[in-house]
């Protein structure tokens, strides 16, 4: 199947833009039509941020609709819960176990739901939880969370590992390539302990 709909959800400032750039680059190297819808502006200041990537023979709307995402790549637990209705029932759901409290939780006006990942797994047993922040930290830079997440996602597609690595090389500054590829590989080789 060449039509793929991917959603990347997270918190403004988490580096989701680079993730979608790499995905777009991968689609181009596969010779597919592709559209990527990004978020620039106010939400980048710590708001809920969602990026859409659609690839296929011809792509019209850049936006993924409910029940349509083949892959839901979540950089933060609460955001996974917010956007879960957009995943296909059998889609890949990859959740970074990182937690970032939104302001209504910080001020006590709302409660951060407990055990989000278990709740998601009850409905979507295929969902994967990844301690991407810890993995990135062990690579020497917490900013590499996005590369870890790309690695885990790459493993769940039928696209060659090498194509991903080349796309990353084209999209990060030369001095950061090594660290980023290391983080990507750790994501790719990640196995969830059940």
């Amino acid at each position: 199947m060449i039509n793929r709909s991917i959603m990347i959800v997270g918190v403004g400032g988490q580096g989701t833009l680079l993730t979608s750039r790499v995905l777009g680059d991968v689609a181009v190297s596969l010779g597919l039509d592709v559209k990527v819808s990004e978020v620039h502006g106010m939400s980048q200041r710590g708001g809920s941020v969602v990026t859409y990537v659609k690839m296929g023979e011809v792509v019209y709307s850049p936006i993924v609709e409910k029940n349509e995402a083949d892959i839901l790549l979540c950089f933060e637990q609460l955001e996974a819960l917010r956007w879960i209705d957009y995943a296909k029932k059998d889609g890949s759901i990859i959740v970074n176990s990182q937690r970032i409290d939104p302001m209504p939780v910080i001020t006590g006006k709302a409660v951060y739901p407990e055990n989000i990942i278990d709740k998601i797994k009850a409905d979507y047993p295929q969902a994967i939880s990844v301690p991407a922040l810890d993995i990135a930290r062990s690579c020497g830079n917490i900013k590499a969370v996005n590369m870890v997440m790309i690695g885990v996602m790459a493993k769940h597609t039928d696209i060659d590992r090498d194509i991903w690595i080349k796309a990353i090389e084209r999209n990060v500054k030369p001095q950061f390539i090594e660290m980023n590829i290391k983080a990507f590989n750790m994501g790719y080789d990640f196995e969830e302990v059940k």
Partner: protein
């Protein structure tokens, strides 16, 4: 070669290929990247102007001088630039003149949801509307041709989804555009009544010709499919509609003003049910109604917010996506917040403590309206804080000025705050204005401005000295203070609001996201010393979290700015030992 470009990058590429010489703008989401990308081409002079009015005037000057020129802004920017636009419509152009105006349906980053087509109709200028990156580039080049052929400014209308979506674009070379000769021509360019009266009929004549063009140019095209359903649409709505009605017939509009009446009639005759699908105002729909063509549009589709394929499917076909899971949890909202380390946090902490009325303005600091800082009372448009503080004083007396401040960012102050401040001095106000000088235009993603000392191309330039500027217009009390020095800042605010004369406080501390700003290691809370008094929670820092029984600092978010250590009376907040 094909490249995956943002709509805004594709516009910039079109500008480059069209041989444009001068490109101006004032930043504004979702238009900002257009001019940031143009600035990367050495062949084009690009600038951030102090505001959209100046930006358009510079572009008009360049056009009159014989160059192709362009000017970019967000929808509300066109209100600021409306004055030159309405009369440039009369003068027409010499070199082609194109405005790129980006609407924001859904208000992702805006204070209202106005529709640029309405202003364009008032100004009697043509509007093109691309639906993806490929058309962004193509239409940009056509817009310059239309501008020169019909002697008119042209607007290319964008929307958030078109500006901020990437699509594949074929790149071409830049044309070699020769400057047109500059010839003095007061009857065309001096719009005093005698000459303007002769220009207005030409504008009406031009609209007639453009209507013809709209019918015949390839910008508006029919895609025949099943004739049971016909859809008239444009821009991003075309892409959504194609997903919902893959087999229907389409009249796809690339030129939305003036509309192609003949083509609309021809299309309407052939189809059974006719839908008009357009975000925001019923602009195309009203035209159809005027032509007595029955269409279904806003009776089912909203004038509010952004569309999507899902919304169109639900409203027009009554099909709603099923919920495939049992997750019905309340998900707390995640509004944008002031970043960890943001200098505005210090300012608002003090303003809240002093329980002042705060006339707010537009920028990152608008986020000071959100709990727990909750300090901002009003936000209307750029520059409004100062005029409104003055109005508050004139309505409620000078006592009100003892409890009120205006807050305004450095970029916003230069954009349109300075005129309000002159008003206060001239009309004997006594208000206090706090300029939040974080050395950058923050909200729109870090653009230089006249106070930063650099141009859009990163070249060093003269820097407006805010202190001297305020003094020069007659403000005798100008104070400069670091908003992270909480006790000093509080003292300064108390003194200045008490003064029975106008005053300015320049709250100076650079944006925490600027590359040269280096904080220390993240902080941590020493649980032996912490009494959970929760003073630190009042700062509304996203890195400080209440874990019920105890307070924690999220080390992945904390930048080590130390502001929280200043509000902790128990010295419980310390530098973390770990390496980050």
């Amino acid at each position: 070669m094909k490249k995956l470009l943002l709509g805004n990058e594709a516009i910039a590429r079109g500008v480059y290929e069209a041989g444009v010489g001068v490109a101006t703008a004032y930043p504004g989401t979702p238009s900002t990247e257009i001019t940031e990308c143009i600035a990367q081409y050495d062949e084009i002079f690009a600038e951030w102007a102090p505001n959209e009015k100046v930006a358009l005037e510079v572009a008009i000057g360049a056009s009159v001088a014989g160059a192709r020129s362009c000017c970019s802004m967000k929808h509300v920017g066109l209100n600021v630039a409306a004055d030159p636009l309405f009369t440039a419509s009369y003068t027409g152009v010499n070199g082609g003149l194109v405005l790129f105006v980006a609407d924001d349906p859904g208000m992702h980053s805006s204070q209202n949801e106005q529709d640029t087509r309405i202003i364009a109709r008032g100004a009697k200028v043509p509007v093109l509307e691309p639906s993806d990156s490929r058309e962004c580039k193509e239409f940009t080049k056509i817009a310059f041709e239309i501008s020169e052929e019909f002697d008119t400014p042209v607007i290319v209308r964008l929307s958030t989804r078109v500006s901020h979506s990437r699509g594949l674009v074929e790149l071409n070379d830049r044309i070699n555009y020769e400057l047109k000769p500059y010839v003095k021509n007061p009857a065309k360019y001096v719009m005093m009544p005698g000459y303007a009266k002769r220009r207005h009929p030409l504008v009406e004549e031009r609209m007639k010709k453009l209507r013809e063009y709209s019918n015949n140019s390839g910008l508006n095209r029919i895609e025949w499919g099943d004739k049971k359903i016909g859809i008239i649409t444009s821009g991003i709505s075309y892409q959504y509609s194609k997903e919902v009605f893959p087999d229907a017939s389409f009249l796809k509009l690339g030129m939305v003003h003036p509309l192609p009446e003949g083509l609309i009639r021809d299309f309407a005759k052939e189809v059974e049910t006719l839908y008009v699908i357009e975000e925001l105002e019923p602009f195309i729909e009203n035209q159809c109604l005027k032509m007595e063509i029955k269409v279904i549009g806003k009776e089912l589709l909203p004038v509010i917010g952004e569309y999507s394929a899902g919304l169109i499917k639900e409203r027009l076909l009554g099909i709603k996506e099923e919920k495939l899971n049992n997750l019905n949890e309340d998900v707390p909202a995640r509004p944008p917040v002031l970043c960890p380390g943001c200098p505005h946090r210090g300012t608002y902490y003090v303003l809240k403590k002093l329980k002042l009325n705060v006339m707010g303005d537009i920028g990152c600091y608008t986020l000071g309206a959100i709990a727990p800082l909750e300090s901002v009372d009003t936000t209307v448009c750029m520059g409004a804080s100062i005029g409104m503080a003055h109005g508050m004083e004139k309505a409620r007396g000078t006592d009100a000025a003892r409890k009120t401040v205006a807050v305004i960012g450095d970029s916003t102050f230069i954009h349109s705050g300075i005129t309000g401040l002159i008003d206060i001095v001239y009309n004997k106000g006594t208000s206090t204005v706090i300029i939040l000088d974080n050395s950058i235009t923050g909200m729109t993603g870090h653009q230089d401005n006249p106070t930063t000392g650099y141009t859009i191309k990163g070249e060093p330039t003269k820097q407006v000295d805010l202190e001297k500027l305020c003094q020069a217009i007659g403000i005798e009390r100008v104070r400069i203070c670091d908003p992270f020095d909480l006790s000093e800042f509080e003292k300064v605010v108390r003194e200045e609001i008490a003064a029975e004369e106008p005053s300015v406080i320049i709250a100076q501390r650079p944006c925490a996201l600027l590359k040269y700003v280096k904080h220390g290691k993240p902080l941590t809370i020493n649980s032996d010393k912490c009494t959970t008094c929760r003073m630190c929670m009042r700062l509304g820092c996203p890195a400080i979290v209440d874990k019920g029984g105890h307070i924690e600092i999220n080390s992945a978010l904390c930048v080590g700015c130390n502001l929280c250590t200043k509000v902790c009376r128990f010295n419980a907040i310390e530098k973390a030992g770990g390496v980050e």
